[in-house]
Structure formats: C-alpha cells, structure tokens
Amino acid sequence: MNATVSAPPTKSQCPDEGQTGLAASEFADLYTEHSRAIYYLALRFLGDASKAEDATHDVFLKAFRTREQFRGECSWRTWLYRIALNHCHNLQQAWHERHVLTTADESLWERAPASTDSPLRVLETKELGQRIQKALDELPREYLLLLLLVADEQLSYDEVAALTDQTPDAVRGKLHRARKAFAIHFQKSA
C-alpha cells in the first residue's frame, strides 16, 4: 500500500460519511489499522493460511469498491468484519473442505508466516497456533465465531451481537459455553 500522511480514519473522522466514503489514500490507513484483525479472523475461521490471504485481499478489495456505501451506522471495523464474515461463509459453503482440513493441515503450519526471526520463537508460535486451530476446529461454527469476535477488544457485545444476528444477552450466554468448550478441546490438544 502506498504510504499516506493522513491519520487512520475513525468513525467520527470519515470524510463525508454516508456520502462519499473514503478517499483511496485514506483507504491505505484503513488497511493498516484493520488488516490484522481481518486476516486473523479469516485464518482461524478458514483454517488455511493461503485461503486467509486470498480472503483478506478480497475483503479489502470489496470494501474499497463499495466504500461509498458505508453509511457510518457502525464502525469501519464492524463494517469490514461484516464483509469478511459474508465472504468466509460463502467460501465455506462453496468448498465444503472443512472436514478435510482438520486431518490434513500439517503442511498449513509450515506455510504460516512466522512472527519473529528467532527460530525458537517461530517454533513456539507455530505450535501454539496449531493447538489453537485444532481446538477451534472442534467447536461449532457459531462458538468459533463468537470467540474470535469477542477476542477483538475493539468490538462491543452489541457489535458482536449485530454481526452474528442475535441479542447481546444471547451472545453472553453462548460465550460462556464457547469458552468452556474451547478450554476442553485446548487441553486435549496438549
């Protein structure tokens, strides 16, 4: 992305919100601010680093092309999440690969990007990521999604509820069960 001078836009700072959306240069800031969250959601939801890469590209490209439709009724992050969730759901419905990935994912972690240059750190990160993915793969899709969204501190329960088409109370109730289920599967994966 091109380097830009302007600060990352926020909901209240978006120019002509509801009318013109973001300028192309400001979109680069939007990518910088939110790409990690979108990529991580795609990675853990799809369970595949290369598909997550493609999905993140497609999500932001769609966001760029439709940015004029942003009405400022939610945050940019929530808007991007909505595009990402729709995209990931469509991918899953089209591919029907989930059950295959859970048993053939050894090579996926070899391709996963490393976080540091330290070999020990890379090994630790890969192992932890593998455990997390295995535990998530055992969860119902709804629980997986709730955990990933609630883990984002920038999202409120209300926003998570809106993204998952349920009430905040329902989110809280299911979150408790999701945490419990994840903890069980995570311990098993040790």
Partner: protein, 79 residues
C-alpha cells in the same frame, strides 16, 4: 476465570545470557479466557505483506478510466 477456563501455553525463553549461560528454562504463561489466548495469538500472527501488494495492484486495475474515449475526445473546453 475458573479453572476450566484457565488456559496455559508454554513458552521457551530465547535469550541467552551474555556470559554464555544455558537457555532459560521453559516458562508457563496463563490465559484467563479463550479470548485472551486468541488475542495473544492474533498479536503474534503477522499479516503477510503480499496481501498489501496484491491489493494495491488490484485497486490500481479497478480504478475506472476518466470516461469514454469519445467523450474525452469531444469534451467541451473548460471556460
């Protein structure tokens, strides 16, 4: 969080003392909730830089032309 939700991950110390001492023993890191663990994982999962490059190329291709060639050719001069 209660015991069930207490998740642990082992991290291996990577720094060696300048005096040549052995690598530090493994340390255990605890996460109170699944979300906290996922947050930690997300922070250590970098976004491949290829995505930004691909996105830049795609956006460059998707920018529409200024207008049809015939309109540009016969455009009225600005007053």
């Amino acid at each position: 969080m209660k015991g069930q939700n207490r998740l642990t991950s082992q991290t291996q110390a990577q720094e060696q003392a300048l005096t040549g001492q052995q690598t530090q023993p493994e340390t255990t890191r605890e996460f109170a909730t699944a979300e906290e663990l996922l947050r930690h994982d997300a922070l250590h999962t970098p976004v491949p830089p290829r995505i930004a490059n691909r996105l830049q190329e795609s956006i460059g291709k998707s920018v529409p032309p200024a207008g049809p060639w015939w309109r540009r050719l016969f455009r009225e001069p600005k007053k």
